[in-house]
Subunit: 200 residues, 2 copies
């Protein structure tokens, strides 16, 4: 859909519309907001994008993104090198870091096995994971893939691949989300929560 405001704005709207969460209409609204707030929003955003594009790289060890390689998590001597947490995506790593729940190191797979989407073992970083798990200091691998069918398939595949390594393989617990109401939970979660019940 052509805009009546010149090719520069057209192009800006087209690029904004490629971001997740923005469609053609909200991309127009975003472009308009940027145009109206040129000094405080448009120019800083352009600079931030340039700075990020130039400085960001993928960590060669874990697959995280950072301005240094290895990333600050892999380089941090206070992080426990004996535990690896396997996540699907960088967003999952960010979520765990925000929760401040994990003090080990990560391994980003880059996705999950999916027959439907044609994602096979070659597409994901299993070989690098195996190489890392074989290092003597690693004692546990926590599999933190999603609780979806593809995520669980991937978790089982990882467990099989790690069979020869001398590491404990664990996965995140299933159960009632903290703050969740039983009435709104699905049967699968309730079953898992009952099965994994713990003594008070």
């Amino acid at each position: 859909m052509s805009q009546p405001a010149g090719p520069e704005i057209d192009r800006l709207i087209q690029l904004l519309a490629k971001l997740p969460g923005l469609g053609p209409r909200s991309a127009r609204r975003a472009a308009l907001k940027l145009i109206k707030d040129r000094r405080r929003l448009m120019a800083p955003l352009a600079d931030a994008l340039h700075a990020a594009a130039e400085s960001i790289s993928i960590c060669g060890q874990c697959g995280n993104v950072d301005t240094s390689d290895p990333c600050h998590i892999c380089a941090d001597p206070r992080r426990d090198p004996s535990i690896l947490c396997v996540v699907e995506d960088i967003a999952d790593l960010w979520a765990l870091e925000r929760a401040k729940a994990f003090k080990g190191r990560y391994h980003v797979l880059g996705g999950v096995l999916s027959a439907l989407d044609g994602v096979g073992p070659e597409e994901l970083s299993f070989d690098a994971l195996l190489a890392r798990a074989r290092v003597a200091e690693v004692g546990e691998v926590i599999i933190a893939t999603s609780a979806t069918v593809d995520g669980q398939t991937t978790a089982h595949y990882i467990k099989d691949r790690l069979a020869g390594c001398e590491v404990t393989v664990s996965r995140l617990a299933h159960g009632v989300p903290v703050g969740g109401e039983l009435d709104y939970l699905d049967d699968g979660t309730l079953n898992a929560a009952l099965t994994a019940r713990r003594k008070l």
Copy 2:
């Protein structure tokens, strides 16, 4: 909420979260998509923002944004200079242009009168509109403000201000939206549509 991926990404997420339609969570998703697609999305978006920030200005005549001043609509000799269409915002001008429904020129008010939001006549470009309407060649002013209370108030205010000028003042018709089902329409619209019924 702090991100675990360095100040560059932090800043990018903060700026993206200021766009309409993006909150903190979707800004993180957008940032991650940009990071993953650095060459095809992040660098082009940075360039597009730079290009737009440098080239875009507000048209001194109508208030549109364009890379030239006067804008390409005001500068186009094929556009009828005898009809002015008054809109609240540039987004409304874009909407009318997309519909290819209007061949005259525009006047962007920059908002509507609103006692609640403290927007008085000084904040909006009424004086410029009056000056434009007094030019001999202008014969009609179409008021295309929203059909909200504030929009209608603003429309009446414009009509009063234009009383001394020798121009026809009209407003957009109210009625059933094309493709709309009567069952889903509010009483006000149905009343307006009945009152303004036309012979077939």
